[in-house]
Symmetry: C2
């Protein structure tokens, strides 16, 4: 394996592999194969082997992969062996739901700060967090190096994204249903349930009602 840029499409599959492997681990499975893992994530065995070969040789012929070891490798590759601090911006229903979600910590993330622009919310408690003022984002470099989950209304998203970029945020998980324009060195991942539903609606044959 020579040192070259790994295609995005491969990187994007690694978390899926990791999730499946951790699920196996929870069920006390110690060993798997590209075949087995592939059947569990609906990806061909060859594809999985090719993907992993970008980063090293983690398997053993005849046996397959040690689940725990492969998890460790993937966590290292994805840089989630340690825990990243993440801020939530916008404490509506979605922001609140995220703060109450228990699934972050054991997968490499922890929410450290919550922000909103509503004076009624600022200073109030949301679970273990005290909601801070969005206006304070610019002050200090409280967000530098952090990742952000952006849960504000569509109309406010771009403006806040600009501010985040200024503050040195390099990764935004965007729940607002709009495209964000950011510099090339800032990553954005989009979560919009309607996009998901529309992608499926195309394939449905009968309409309801």
């Amino acid at each position: 394996m020579v040192d070259r840029v790994v295609p995005d499409v491969i990187v994007s599959r690694l978390p899926v592999y990791l999730r499946a492997l951790q699920f196996m681990q929870m069920q006390a499975v110690t060993t798997t194969s590209s075949q087995d893992l592939g059947s569990k994530v609906n990806i061909s065995a060859a594809q999985i082997r090719k993907d992993l070969s970008q980063f090293g040789e983690f398997g053993k012929q005849g046996t397959g992969y040690n689940v725990e070891a492969l998890i460790a490798h993937l966590e290292k590759i994805l840089q989630v062996e340690k825990v990243w601090d993440v801020a939530v911006i916008g404490m509506g229903d979605m922001g609140h739901a995220l703060t109450r979600y228990g699934g972050f910590l054991n997968r490499g993330f922890r929410i450290t700060d919550c922000f909103d622009n509503d004076p009624a919310k600022i200073g109030s408690q949301a679970g273990q967090y005290i909601i801070k003022d969005v206006a304070d984002i610019g002050k200090g470099d409280c967000l530098r190096g952090k990742m952000v989950m952006l849960c504000v209304p569509a109309a406010a998203a771009q403006k806040i994204a600009n501010k985040l970029v200024e503050c040195g945020v390099k990764a935004i998980l965007n729940y607002a249903p709009v495209h964000l324009s950011v510099p090339a060195d800032v990553r954005v991942q989009y979560i919009d349930p309607v996009i998901g539903l529309q992608r499926m609606a195309y394939y449905l044959h009968e309409k309801n009602e």
Copy 2:
């Protein structure tokens, strides 16, 4: 344009175009071009034109596209000119957040039913909905032809998915952080914030703390 199967990758971009166009419409923009739209969704102009050419000729040389007309075409193509009934299964924080989200209706969807397995929740009111018993999903064909947003814990997701498949559900928006095994004619879209965060963590250079 001849009648052929449209690649998934193209279909998956159409909702993104549609969302951007509706955003333009909201701002009273009447006309756009592949160039302009492309800059707003970070996709090349040529790509957009090629994608649209799969379905017909919607633009005018020299002018570009009429926003309203292109929206109408895309809605037709995606089958979201009318409104699909969607059920929410699992009324935890995420399920509740979805029922309170106002962004579905004008994009082709409406929540009609909510289910949970917690006796304390069944029968109670959640906004305008009365929470039904998950055990009743099998009874009647209340879900036939519907789409489902699945918001149950990971451990329960596959079991419920199986039940949904039996009931004739053909589209599942899965919020549970597990892969679902379903027949080939059932579509699944995944929403897992951690997958999104991990995909970005790979590219980050400095670790926090």
